[in-house]
Amino acid sequence: MTNQRDVALITGASRGLGFALAQALARCGAKVAMVARDAGVLERAAAEIRREGGTVATIVDDVGDPAAALRIAAQTHALVGAPTLVIHNASTLGAVPLVSLAETDPDAFAATLATNVTGPFALTRALVGSMVLAGRGTIVHISSDAAVEAYPTWGAYGASKAALDHLSRIWAAELAGTGVSVIAVDPGEMATKMHADAVPDADPATLGDPNVVAARIVALVRMGAVPSGARVVAVNVEEAA
């Protein structure tokens, strides 16, 4: 589905998988709106893609803020046009080092859900009407194996990703027949800042390269082979294809 006219919106796009996705899509000719909280890091990331000839716009905002959805949606439409692809990539682990649920502060738990579940829900809600009107669009939720496996100390994050998976399925059910598809993708463990925050002593050599994972996800979306409502694991993509 990716072609010259595609417009992608990516949250958490200043580094890690989000940046790799923005770069990969820009290389395919898509116009990309990049959202992140830190203006400095975001501008440097955008500059790198522009140097390669990519067309990107930056939106400094926090998806965990309930008022952000409207701002992000409107600025995306104003700066790069109607999005045909939305990738909910931004997410937070909560407080690090990770602690058990019994030691997790309820406010910190709620803040994790705000960024990882409520934020993506609100942003999809702000954008989905124009996608239904256009009769096309793809919405991707970046999930985690922590949504499926019960890893001790990953409570808030794991619960939020499980909720995100289910949110994805319900959107897909409600949008059946509209031309808008909604999927969840588990990218696998990657050598990113987030992973280093969670597991500081992990050997980077054993982790996935975000650029490779991003290329797989872009290929997945491009083929349009994943049925709406599905959850796929990125490391299995080549086998699936």
């Binding site: 716009a57 008022a67 701002r71 949606a73 104003a78």
Partner: protein, 350 residues
């Protein structure tokens, strides 16, 4: 007439007065019946403009002012109207005048952003062009952070930016909500499509309703920018060729389609334009057959526009009925559908 003074979403249960100029009749229905009143071959055209939170507060040479953006930016210049101290709670006609400005003056927004008065339009010295100190991305960001929706003195409370968006809003071009589409939810869009009704969009920069400046208000509505996609033009052409009806959602859509047709020998064409025409009872419509609008009072320009779709006696009866049954007016009020043949469909569905 009763005014809707609290924001509301609307939805399928919203009241809708249906005026059928072909059946010479008026009856009441709800927005949810729209898919039943229309049929395969009909095309519904909505205005997909998102609403800019276009009211900004700041100071010019120490004087408190309210700035109301009048449209989207053109070449990084933002058209705007200056109002004096105070806010929406005061009727625009009773607002203090803003200070006289000259080109080059600084407007300091409440968040500290310094905006330049880069131009003054001939209509009034309060009708200005603003230049933000940053690129467009940062200007949009500032406006969406500090701006409030434009609203008028009949409202009971502050309106939120999210409350002035249609469910299918796209580009932020409107400075006042294209409110006819407010009650149309995703469910209604989907139900219309299932019925075989084509739903397409254009973007029209719906502008200011009132400013309190006599010269500007006498000229309202100001020329408004629109863009019609090729897909919409094709859908309309197909409907015309097969006897389908073209239903405009909102007076802004009527204005854009008829403006385009008036410049292209009766057929609207794809692309951008500026709508300057004002429609009324003497207008010969070239494109639009039916309109979904708010409930409008006789004597207003919106009611005059309905005169292009239905004869005066029928509109007078509709007005009497609207008053008697307590329909509400303004942007959060009830709906009016002027649709030739509506009564026939209604009886068939019932």
């Amino acid at each position: 007439m009763n005014i809707a003074t609290i924001p509301r979403r609307g939805g399928t249960a919203q009241r809708m007065q249906v005026i059928d100029p072909l059946g010479d009749t008026v009856f009441e229905a709800t927005i949810g019946t729209l898919p039943d009143l229309l049929g395969p071959g009909d095309v519904v055209v909505v205005n997909d403009a998102a609403t800019i939170p276009a009211s900004l507060r700041g100071r010019i040479a120490g004087h408190e002012v309210e700035v109301r953006l009048a449209g989207p930016p053109e070449h990084e210049l933002w058209p705007a109207v200056l109002l004096g101290a105070g806010d929406w709670r005061t009727d625009t006609d009773r607002r203090e005048a803003p200070p006289e400005v000259a080109i080059g003056d600084a407007l300091v927004l409440d968040d500290g952003t310094v905006v330049e008065i880069a131009g003054i339009y001939p209509l009034s010295s309060r009708h200005v062009a603003l230049r933000f100190p940053t690129d467009l991305a940062a200007a949009w960001s500032t406006i969406f952070r500090v701006g409030r929706p434009i609203q008028y003195a009949y409202m009971q409370r502050d309106v939120l930016p999210s409350e002035v968006q249609t469910r299918y809003a796209g580009r932020p071009w409107a400075v006042e909500m294209p409110s006819a589409g407010r009650p149309i939810g995703i469910d209604t869009l989907v139900a219309l499509r299932r019925r075989g009704v084509k739903v397409v969009a254009l973007t029209h920069a719906a502008g200011l309703s009132a400013t309190g400046d006599a010269h500007i208000d006498a000229a309202l509505p100001l020329p408004e920018r629109y863009e019609i996609p090729a897909e919409t033009v094709n859908a309309i052409a197909r409907a015309k060729a097969t006897g389908g009806r073209v239903v405009a959602v909102g007076t802004s859509v009527v204005r854009a389609l008829e403006a385009s047709a008036s410049m292209h020998t009766g057929r609207c064409v794809a692309g951008r334009g500026v709508a300057t025409i004002i429609l009324g009872p003497s207008t010969r419509r070239a494109v639009v057959d039916a309109v979904l609008a708010g409930v409008h009072e006789p004597g207003t320009s919106h009611h005059a526009l309905l005169g292009a779709f239905a004869p005066p006696d029928l509109l007078a009866r509709a007005h009497e009925l609207a008053v008697a049954t307590g329909l509400t007016i303004h942007e959060f009020g009830d709906s009016t559908l002027v649709l030739p043949g509506a009564a026939t469909h209604h009886r068939r569905a019932a």
